[in-house]
């Protein structure tokens, strides 16, 4: 065989060379990558690629070259793929040399797969060419079947069967080409290409390299499209289109949309076809580049030019309006917009179709009264290349009775719309023509009877009998521009003529409540008094509106803010924690029985109340009384609001609210105070008094087994006269038994005592402590009173617990004894009695000072010892020398054991001296002696 070998024909020789080179390259690459030298392997591959790339070969065998190229990239990519699992961090490798640095992608398998697919595409194109040239060579098929790879790498030979003998016969170039073409036909290149690109696409997606991925995706989509798998193609194209839309690569988007449009056409989905077509027509592909785009073999989109956009625009509107004669559409019967198959497009704030139709709506005012008309400006903008005529515009609001329709006066009214515009206002406009990038501004009146928010939701444009575009309304103030339409020389236009409105205009307006025509009156007078049920009359009188399902809301709020009870005191007053409370609502008798239905709301809480108001005709009035009780003096805000609907009982009906508030002062009416008094001229020595003089907070002390007088006084601290109905001293705990006896001096009041403001009412009780306990509970002073208002108001009970008192046994009691009065020159006896109540001997020092108006007999100073449980009496004789109120001689007693000095009060010394013996009449003579 070796001897017979000769130079192969040119094509086969090239094939052989490349095959051998491929083998060698494969081995070298494998070794390099196995050693982890990625950089070197890539450099090696680049060199290999560089040396063979240009060896294309003869034109008829070019496909062999591209197939070979593709294989190189595929194989190297796979090798890299396998080894890159072992190499974790490729980017950290020092790649390439200084003069030819490697890009990051050259170490990624995805790059090679992508290029493999690229060359495979080239191969397919060339193979198709070769096939078309060799159409006639079918008869050679059987001859080609016997061609097999020969023993040498890269060589092919024909196998000849001669009986049992096999012989290899070398091929001519023509024969080889024929064989290769037939071989090539057997492969489904499309699927191969898709598989390669998919690998690349997934790899890029994993790396989060979106744009590279999109490029691959676009190529896959194109392959699918060519293979007729429109569904797969559409999915991919949709993804890619969204990226290009976002980044504004218009030319690329145009290309992708062209494919999408064709996919939709092939599927017969009219809606998508129209959507894609409209988007394409509105794309800002620059018209200036027409000339240089001529050379291009375009995708289905056609050249990105203004002319093409206009063509698409005409196509779409021809279809929409129903004019036939569209060559592209006629092929498919499904692509018709008819009565049964109407088309409705939605354009929202993020839709790419905002380019096609943009609706900006601005109210001229921000707030209006109900039923007052206001102006609304509707601005439409389209970027379509040709002018568009709109047949009818429908403006929709959230309050559907405000909707209105604008008819194009130049068009005959559409028959189909006659039925659906019932109940809506119909306006007419002289022209509804949208020119490219020019705002169509329409201003109309709107009025609404319903209060609340009135918002324009959408604008529906009707073009042709069965085609509508619903465009979400946008406020000019918050409108985003069209990102694709930012051109240097493009004049910024505002949707409204008034520039201020363009900056601040809103698509929503606030409609105020109608003015209430009902009076609400709170008729409280003067401050409230603590404890009473204070009455606040509330009058609802209708002056223009009837009151349907009226509802009175009552709120009590602390004037200083915060709640009506102090948290510190919540525990003590857990049951009665509100200082001010709403006790009740009463309706004047005689009317209420029929009106207060059981199902009507009637809720009362401590500081909140809800009360139904019966139906009132226009001109009627109704009143009720709020009863509020103060537990503490506190100013309070009373809020009363009446909500009613002026027209009907329906719960959805609009409510009108009237508010009234009133500040009410809460005041203490009765201040109760008390005082203890001991018998006149009798002073017990109370040890606790001696010790703590400074501390005045100590509870009062009473001597044991002595009669004390309790004086309770009630003072009117209010500004109105009060009637006092009675005063008692209540025992707090009846069952434990009282350790003292309390007696009323005198009887209960026979008739109420009138107290003018500031006046005091006093009542005397006697207290005798009997028990041995050191504490004495006096009880609670209860005062019953009422306002002196003439009408019979409920009496109020004011209670005050009197503080406990200490009880102690005095060791010594000093008492003075002298007659109630004296007569000038008449001697009388003045006794000082010192009673020792202890079991001990008490040493007592005393001294007596002289007095001007008296002559006295007896010792001035001495020390005496008082025996246990006995009484020592010092006796003096006094002769008055002057008449009138005179001071008797003062004396001081000092108990040595307790080091306590004692001096009676000035009042105890005072005595009245008559100049001569008085003559009393009647009973007075008897007592006077």
């Amino acid at each position: 065989m070796v001897g017979t070998s000769k130079r192969l024909p040119a094509i086969q020789r090239l094939v052989e060379i490349k095959t051998v080179a491929e083998q060698l390259h494969f081995k070298i690459s494998t070794l390099l990558l196995h050693g982890g030298k990625v950089g070197e392997a890539v450099t090696w591959f680049r060199q290999h690629n560089g040396s063979y790339r240009r060896l294309v070969g003869t034109p008829e065998a070019v496909f062999l070259h591209w197939e070979w190229m593709s294989r190189q990239f595929l194989v190297f990519g796979e090798l890299l793929d396998k080894s890159s699992a072992a190499i974790t961090n490729i980017s950290s490798l020092a790649l390439g040399t200084a003069d030819k640095p490697l890009s990051e992608w050259e170490s990624r398998p995805a790059y090679y797969y992508q290029l493999a697919a690229h060359y495979l595409k080239e191969k397919r194109a060339c193979l198709e060419l070769a096939l078309s040239m060799s159409e006639t060579g079918n008869e050679m098929d059987n001859g080609a079947e016997s061609v097999v790879p020969s023993a040498y790498v890269g060589q092919f030979a024909r196998l000849l069967e001669q009986g049992d003998e096999f012989a290899m016969q070398s091929l001519t170039d023509e024969e080889y080409i024929r064989f290769a073409v037939v071989e090539g036909k057997r492969f489904q290149d499309s699927y191969e290409i898709i598989a390669l690109l998919k690998k690349s696409y997934e790899s890029y997606s994993n790396l989060k390299v979106q744009r590279m991925g999109s490029f691959c995706g676009f190529q896959i989509g194109k392959e699918y499209y060519m293979a007729g798998e429109f569904n797969n193609a559409k999915q991919l194209f949709d993804d890619i289109a969204s990226l290009y839309r976002r980044e504004g690569w218009v030319t690329l988007l145009w290309e992708v949309l062209g494919y999408l449009r064709e996919c939709a056409r092939k599927y017969g989905t009219v809606k998508e076809l129209i959507e894609y077509s409209l988007e394409m027509a509105a794309l800002p592909v620059s018209s200036g580049t027409d000339t240089q785009m001529k050379y291009r073999e375009n995708g289905p989109a056609g050249p990105a030019s203004l002319a093409r956009r206009e063509e698409i625009h005409k196509d779409v509107f021809g279809l929409v309006i129903g004019e036939s004669g569209l060559s592209s559409v006629e092929r498919n019967d499904d692509l018709k917009i008819t009565l049964d198959n109407p088309l409705h497009l939605e354009i929202d704030l993020v839709s790419p179709l905002r380019l096609v139709l943009l609706a900006s709506v601005a109210f001229h005012e921000q707030k209006i009264k109900p039923s007052a008309p206001t102006l609304i400006t509707l601005s439409l903008l389209s970027q379509l290349p040709l002018t568009v005529e709109i047949d009818q515009l429908e403006v929709q609001f959230n309050q559907s009775n405000c909707n209105f329709i604008i008819m194009n006066a130049q068009r005959p009214p559409l028959a189909a719309t006659a039925d659906d515009k019932q109940g809506h206002r119909v306006e007419s406009s002289s022209s509804l023509t949208l020119s490219t990038n020019k705002w169509l501004r329409l201003t109309y009146d709107v009025k609404s009877d319903q209060s609340g928010k009135l918002e324009c939701t959408s604008v529906i444009a009707k073009m042709g009998p069965h085609f509508t575009i619903c465009c979400r309304a946008e406020s000019p103030a918050s409108m985003e521009d069209l990102p694709l339409f930012k051109f240097e020389d493009r004049v910024e236009t505002s949707p409204t003529k008034d520039p201020a409105l363009a900056f601040t205009g809103q698509k929503a307006i606030q409609i105020e409540e109608p003015d209430p025509q009902v009076d609400l009156n709170l008729g409280a007078s003067g401050p409230a008094l603590v404890g009473e049920r204070f009455i606040v009359p509330v009058t609802v009188s209708s002056v223009g509106h009837a009151v349907y399902s009226g509802e009175l809301k009552i709120n009590l709020v602390d004037v200083r803010g915060g709640s009506l009870f102090s948290p510190r005191e919540t525990e003590a007053y857990s049951l009665d924690s509100h200082h001010v409370e709403l006790v009740g609502i009463s309706v004047p008798e005689g009317k209420d029985e029929t009106q207060l239905d059981t199902d009507e709301i009637n809720k009362i809480q401590k500081s909140f109340g809800l009360f139904s108001v019966p139906f009132l005709k226009c001109g009627e009035s109704w009143s009720c009384k709020l009863e509020i009780k103060w537990h503490r003096p506190k100013p309070v805000m009373l809020y009363v609001s009446l909500g009613y609907s002026p027209y009907s009982f329906e719960s959805t009906a609009q409510k009108v609210n009237v508010h009234k508030s009133l500040q009410i002062e809460g005041k203490t009416a009765i201040v109760i105070s008390h005082r203890f008094m001991l018998p006149f001229r009798q002073d017990p020595l109370l040890l606790s008094r001696i010790k703590a003089v400074a501390d005045s907070d100590l509870p009062a002390s009473l001597p044991r087994n002595e009669t004390c007088i309790l004086l309770v006084s009630a003072k009117n601290s209010a500004e109105v006269p009060l009637k006092l109905l009675g005063m008692t001293l209540q025992e707090d705990n009846e069952d434990t038994g009282r350790p003292c006896s309390v007696r009323h001096e005198g009887e209960d009041l026979l008739e109420p005592a009138l107290l003018v403001p500031g006046e005091e009412f006093k009542k005397i009780f006697t207290v005798i402590s009997e028990d041995d306990s050191s504490k004495l509970t006096i009880g609670t002073a209860c005062v019953t009173w009422t306002r002196d208002s003439g009408s019979k108001a409920a009496s109020v009970l004011t209670k005050q617990t009197l503080p406990d008192v200490n009880v102690e046994s005095p060791p010594l009691v000093v008492s003075l004894d002298c007659p109630p009065y004296a007569i000038l020159g008449d001697p009388f006896t003045y006794l000082v009695k010192i009673r020792n109540q202890t079991q001990l001997l008490q040493e007592v020092k005393f001294s007596l000072a002289d007095a001007q108006s008296f002559v006295l007999s007896g010792s001035h100073n001495d020390t005496v010892f008082v025996l246990p449980k006995s009484e020592h009496i010092l006796s003096y004789k006094l002769v008055p020398l002057a008449s009138g109120v005179q001071q008797m001689p003062r004396f001081t007693v000092t108990a040595v054991r307790y080091s306590a000095g004692f001096q009676p009060s000035i009042a105890a010394y005072t005595i009245f001296i008559f100049p001569s013996k008085p003559h009393f009449k009647g009973a007075a003579v008897g007592t006077g002696g």
């Binding site: 890009s103 744009r211 690329l252 050379y295 291009r296 995708g299 990102p483």
Partner: protein, 146 residues
């Protein structure tokens, strides 16, 4: 050699596609430079390649303080060179292998032109450059350096 003749059959493409991409990734200027016969599908393919190369620029721009990023990506025999301005506007040039020096000068001169455009008070940064003056100047620079 026998192959020598074949090699010369492949046309030396002198094609170049130049694009200015704003900081929001939106192309604001695009042009085809070079005068030689163009292959079918070329302009569209060029844009695809340039768009894909944005991914690389995104990574690379923050790793260096230089404005000229040299050849950052290659597709087949086409190379992408990028120049990033301080405002992160990217000049992207798709070309076949060529000296870096010419490209660098080209970029620098275009940068100057671009700054002049920016200084125009009527030009809104980030919007498309449609001035014919700018276009003519860029094409002139292309002829001069590329």
């Amino acid at each position: 050699m026998h192959f020598q003749a074949e090699e010369s059959e492949v046309p030396m493409a002198t094609t170049a596609c130049f694009i200015i991409v704003s900081r929001n990734d939106i192309p604001i200027y695009e042009t085809e430079l070079g005068s030689a016969a163009k292959r079918e599908d070329a302009a569209q393919l060029h844009q695809f390649v340039l768009h894909a190369a944005l991914d690389v620029v995104q990574d690379l721009a923050w790793t260096t303080s230089a404005m000229f990023l040299k050849a950052i990506d290659r597709f087949n025999d086409l190379v992408v060179s990028v120049y990033v301005t301080a405002g992160h506007t990217r000049f992207m040039l798709l070309h076949d292998s060529r000296s870096d020096d010419g490209i660098k000068s080209f970029f620098q001169e275009v940068h100057e032109l671009y700054i002049k455009t920016l200084l125009n008070p009527l030009y809104l940064p980030g919007s498309r450059i449609t001035s014919s003056h700018f276009d003519t100047k860029v094409r002139g620079l292309g002829r001069k350096y590329l």
